[in-house]
């Protein structure tokens, strides 16, 4: 049996956009550690052609990247095996949310980072707030960009430290104009999407609030372990314990519902469940595409560390509410149906039924987030 080593410590430098100085800060910290005598290497570094940043690399040991060929194109990825062989005390890894080229051993860079941590190596990494899974819909709503490279929130929650790398949008826009962030062509495109002043300010606020949440949850976790006299009393935590149930279906709105429910659960420090209620005898009775959609949503929930089940009941709403009562759920999350039943229609929707049956608990109907232009077009 292999010897167990204590897991390495993970530190995340959180920013709100490209160019705020995350990579630079990561290298600064690597230098500072080196000065203190820590054996530190750079496992992966994304230069983006930024002169200041590249200059900071001097004097640091860099692990050569792995060359990967995919469909005739060469890509470079972090060489995790080489990092493990070199086995430093600390490894700097840029772009935590990166998705590896297909055919790599692991799909995501954060999974590579976990392997490195498991080997007892500390990691410093960088991340932008818009890559957090739970913020995906919100970010899309105000940037119009659907961020594809997402990272489950629990991965960030498990980090030992989250530090914000802050820069006012004005200063960032100046950098962008001076060409310090992107090439001129890319800068113009960027300026039309993420790099509007109001969008940047909103992303920045999200990053600051997210970091405050991370600080708070670590603090409360510490407090729970600490002897009572140390406890300074974060008032809200001691109150009622919430328990949330998310009603999953084949409806594509389920993904946003799961994200929203989980985010609320995280803020309220509540337990979170997801359930799909099936009215047939067997899941195999479902139409293939429906079944695929349900499986996809349940897997998505599991990836976010939500306990997920399939329940069987003749009546969907009743099955859901029975499960909720049995498990002392305080709040049920359901998606607002796309097509609304007409006023006074005799057969009510599942949502209406849940609201009617669960009169002893809270029911949250989550509306689809739409872009303003889209909302306008649809009246």
């Amino acid at each position: 049996m292999a010897e167990t080593v204590p897991r390495g410590r993970l530190k995340i430098l959180l920013g709100y956009a490209a160019g705020v100085g995350k990579t630079y800060r990561m290298l600064e910290e690597a230098h500072a550690l080196k000065r203190q005598g820590v054996d530190v290497v750079v496992g992966y570094f994304e230069p983006h052609g930024r002169k200041d940043t590249i200059a900071r690399l001097e004097g640091l040991e860099v692990i050569t990247r792995r060359q990967v060929e995919y469909r005739g194109v060469r890509f470079e990825e972090m060489d995790t095996d080489a990092v493990l062989r070199r086995h430093p005390q600390c490894c700097a890894v840029d772009e935590f949310a990166h998705t590896n080229v297909p055919g790599s051993e692991r799909a995501k860079r954060w999974e590579d980072v976990h392997v490195i941590l498991d080997a007892g190596i500390d990691v410093i990494t960088t991340l932008n707030v818009q890559h957090l899974e739970s913020l995906n819909d919100q970010v899309w709503q105000f940037t119009g960009v659907r961020v594809r490279e997402t990272i489950p929130d629990w991965v960030v929650q498990q980090a030992d430290e989250v530090v914000v790398v802050d820069l006012p949008p004005d200063a960032l826009l100046n950098r962008l104009r001076r060409g310090a962030v992107y090439s001129p062509e890319k800068a113009r495109v960027a300026a039309e999407n993420f790099f509007r002043e109001s969008t940047l300010a909103t992303l920045r606020e999200l990053a600051l609030r997210q970091t405050a949440l991370e600080v708070d949850s670590r603090f409360t976790a510490q407090e729970a372990q600490a002897p009572p006299e140390v406890s300074a009393g974060s008032a809200a935590a001691a109150e009622t314990q919430d328990k949330i149930l998310i009603a999953v279906s084949a409806d594509p709105a389920s993904a946003a519902l799961i994200r929203r429910g989980k985010r609320v659960a995280d803020y309220l420090k509540a337990e979170c469940f997801a359930a799909f209620v099936h009215s047939g005898a067997d899941l195999a009775d479902l139409a293939p595409e429906e079944r695929q959609a349900v499986d996809k949503h349940l897997n998505f929930a599991r990836n976010l560390h939500i306990e997920s089940r399939v329940l069987r009941a003749t009546d969907i709403a009743q099955g859901l509410v029975d499960f909720a009562r049995l498990n002392r759920i305080t709040q049920i999350f359901v998606a607002r149906p796309r097509k609304q039943p007409r006023l006074g229609r005799l057969r009510p929707s599942v949502v209406q039924e849940v609201v009617r049956l669960a009169r002893d608990m809270q029911v949250t109907i989550v509306a689809e987030r739409r872009r303003p232009d889209e909302a306008r077009a649809q009246g």
Partner: protein
């Protein structure tokens, strides 16, 4: 902007905008580095920014520094022009007159919360800074969270001691730029002490620092939110999304609102979001309902919530229009007292709210 709704500004608004713009161009710009403790590196960041601006051709001087400079700070000061502090009764005071006479483009002022001794030009350093800004000199400064007037009490609760000096929060909110200097509490602890401290002390201090850090981050987020609001207003943009959660509790005379109000309060605390309580203010209701509503409103008031009385023929539409205007993200509502069959035939208040609440979550509470 594709993601926002444009609206036509009225003439008064236009005039206000022009005046605000002129005022801003005349005044110097204020930039604040905000930290949650000493040792996070505020001074260094300020001096580095001064050096960068100087390299870019701006005329930069140092107006005030900490008396005891670390070697890192000293090395940076050597590369900048420094206007020495004056000593008044043995206390260091920024030499405002000398700076005004020298009239640089940018002045670096460490320790914004510093108090001047009696007989100085101004009692507080932030007033000195105000004077520089008025004269058209831009200022880059540093401040520690514990000196923000409105945060002092909470900080004192955490730290167990209170500081005398303070800077009003409004002064920070008016800054053109605020930048958080963040570091992990461990890093601060290392700079605070040279080892030696007992492990339990260290743990307690670390928890204090975590709490302070959270406050600083939230304060900065609020300032950013305020700035964003101002920016949108000045550019005539009605933004329909926000990074902040806003909870709206709709109180009626039909059901007891205690649970809903308690939950609204707890949620707004946890999310650090805004809590708004609304009710429909109409004369045409029964005395029983009127009394019940009054009880609920008293309850809301005693919980310290902001109350908004709305008036409209169609209650659901009125509440939704208000919610949209205020950027609400979640509406809390309680089941009504009508029976199921009534709601099914006529379409209940809750049903209609759910149906029409585009883009907002609706949380339905037990009756």
């Amino acid at each position: 902007m594709a993601s926002s709704l444009m609206r036509r500004p009225d003439p008064d608004e236009l005039l206000r905008k022009v005046q605000a713009q002129e005022e801003r161009e005349r005044r110097g710009k204020l930039k604040v580095f905000l930290g949650y403790a000493s040792g996070v590196g505020k001074s260094i960041r300020m001096l580095d920014e001064g050096r960068r601006r100087r390299e870019r051709g701006e005329d930069v001087v140092v107006g005030a520094t900490q008396l005891e400079a670390t070697p890192e700070v000293k090395a940076r000061l050597e590369k900048l022009e420094v206007i020495s502090l004056r000593l008044v009764d043995g206390s260091p005071v920024m030499d405002v007159e000398a700076i005004l006479e020298r009239h640089p483009q940018v002045c670096l002022v460490d320790g914004l919360a510093h108090d001047n001794p009696a007989g100085s030009l101004n009692p507080h350093r932030w007033q000195d800074v105000e004077q520089l800004l008025e004269a058209g000199i831009s200022v880059i400064t540093t401040v520690n969270l514990q000196y923000i007037e409105e945060e002092r009490e909470r900080v004192a609760q955490i730290r167990g001691r209170e500081v005398k000096e303070s800077v009003p929060r409004a002064f920070l909110t008016r800054a053109e730029e605020i930048e958080v200097v963040d570091a992990s509490p461990e890093a601060c602890l290392d700079s605070e002490e040279e080892g030696g401290a007992a492990e339990s002390d260290r743990q307690r201090r670390q928890q204090q620092l975590s709490q302070l850090r959270e406050l600083a981050l939230l304060l900065a987020a609020d300032v950013v939110d305020r700035q964003l609001e101002r920016y949108l207003q000045e550019h005539g943009i009605a933004q329909v999304w926000s990074a902040q959660e806003r909870f709206l509790v709709w109180v009626t005379g039909e059901s007891d609102a205690a649970l809903m109000l308690a939950s609204g309060r707890r949620n707004s605390l946890r999310f650090h979001g805004e809590l708004i309580v609304v009710y429909i203010d109409r004369p045409d209701r029964s005395p029983v309902e009127r009394d019940a509503l009054q009880r609920n409103l008293d309850l809301a008031r005693s919980a310290g919530a902001t109350l908004e009385g709305l008036d409209g023929e169609d209650a659901v539409a009125t509440v939704l229009a208000f919610a949209r205007r205020r950027g609400v993200t979640q509406i809390f509502v309680a089941h009504g007292s009508h029976s199921d069959w009534w709601d099914r035939i006529f379409g209940g208040r809750v049903d209609r709210l759910i149906r029409d609440a585009n883009g907002m979550d609706v949380r339905v509470f037990p009756h």
